[in-house]
């Protein structure tokens, strides 16, 4: 979606302000929101991509005026309500009403280290051979889906080159809708900064993005 999350190339946000000695979490509630979101993700009620979609679906004014973990909290509350795991009234009161809807699994404390050490790979067996090879000239698709996408606006319609082939991966757009779509080949596509930004480009610089196959078309 063309939402506030798609920030690449935007002007007016000012300088980057790094804080020396910044803590991992700034408040206890940030710790709890982080852990709640991770633990609820583990229940398999929704995908990681659906969580990203929920966060970026916040109205742009709210997205841009909320802190990072406020955005996580809003996204989590939205998903809990959408999936019938918690009603707005229950979330306000903190008290459960009625019998909880079951979830597929619950993360136990002794599972955290082994499961999070192993990770949750997103690569899958490919359904077909890759359409592109390293060095192929491509153009990024110009499309503006209203749902979740991993094709930033600043790359759409621009000419680039295939630089790496990473394998076949879960496709975020279908996964965000909770659908089991076929995996897609994932590439690194490289773009000359001039082809993205014209005369405003940093001379000689390049931008790469991780490109799902359906985001790319061939270029003569």
């Amino acid at each position: 979606m063309n939402g506030a999350q798609d920030l690449g190339g935007a002007h007016g946000f000012g300088p980057v302000e790094a804080e020396a000695g910044e803590p991992v979490f700034r408040a206890e509630w940030e710790r709890r929101v982080f852990a709640l979101a991770m633990a609820m993700g583990f229940t398999k009620t929704w995908t990681l991509d659906a969580s990203r979609a929920a966060r970026e679906s916040l109205p742009p004014v709210e997205y841009l005026s909320s802190s990072y973990y406020e955005i996580w909290l809003r996204g989590l509350e939205t998903q809990l309500a959408e999936h019938g795991l918690a009603s707005p009234e229950e979330m306000r009161s903190g008290l459960a009403a009625g019998v909880p809807k079951p979830v597929a699994r619950v993360l136990a404390a002794d599972q955290v280290a082994p499961l999070f050490d192993g990770g949750f790979p997103s690569d899958r067996a490919p359904a077909a051979p890759p359409r592109f090879q390293i060095g192929d000239r491509i153009v990024a698709r110009n499309d503006h889906p209203a749902g979740h996408t991993r094709l930033p606006r600043y790359i759409r319609g621009r000419p680039g080159v295939i630089e790496r082939i990473h394998g076949a991966f879960v496709f975020p757009e279908t996964a965000a809708r909770g659908e089991q779509g076929p995996p897609q080949w994932l590439y690194t596509a490289g773009f000359a900064a001039e082809d993205l930004w014209g005369a405003s480009a940093e001379p000689g610089s390049r931008v790469t993005f991780a490109a799902f196959e359906s985001y790319l078309g061939p270029r003569a």
Partner: protein
Amino acid sequence: MPGHDHDLDHSHGSELSPIEARVRALESLLIEKGYVDPAALDALIERYEHQVGPHNGARVVARAWVDPAFRERLLADGTPAITELGIGGRGGEHMVVVENTPETHNLVVCTLCSCYPWPVLGLPPVWYKAPPYRARAVIDPRGVLADFGVTLPEGTRITIWDSTAETRFMVLPMRPEGTETLDEATLATLVTRDSMIGTGLPQAPR
């Protein structure tokens, strides 16, 4: 005056802010429903606040600086090479390590959200997740580096890696000059978090 201050302390000390109250209510609700185990929440926080962090990535970089065969494996396929050091997991399932050279400087960003290589760098700092960095890194990389006090040589070109999928990027910075006699553990102390994102350079040896 002391009495006045005491009253102020009293009225503010025990109250939760609206967001603290909201999160506390949500947590107790999800525990009551059996969806989350409070001990698992504590374990997640402990892991990502105290165990996983840039000290992991620094070990990877230092190993690459002293062991050319490891460096080659790391650049060819990041994930298995990093696993050799016992490092890996959530947010780093598909690691890509990109090497700085005198000709090319690499800079990692996630313009769409906050994708970041957790097992080697920990959770991202606020600036990495905030609009100024996400907006400017791709269009004005030298300006962003200037915000960090980094000036590259004129001839060095910048490659920006926008983390738009589950492939996660870590920069292998150049080994500082004057470190030929240092051992691997000492070298690791020179490797800063920002040098592995590309917004900084390793520290010079003392």
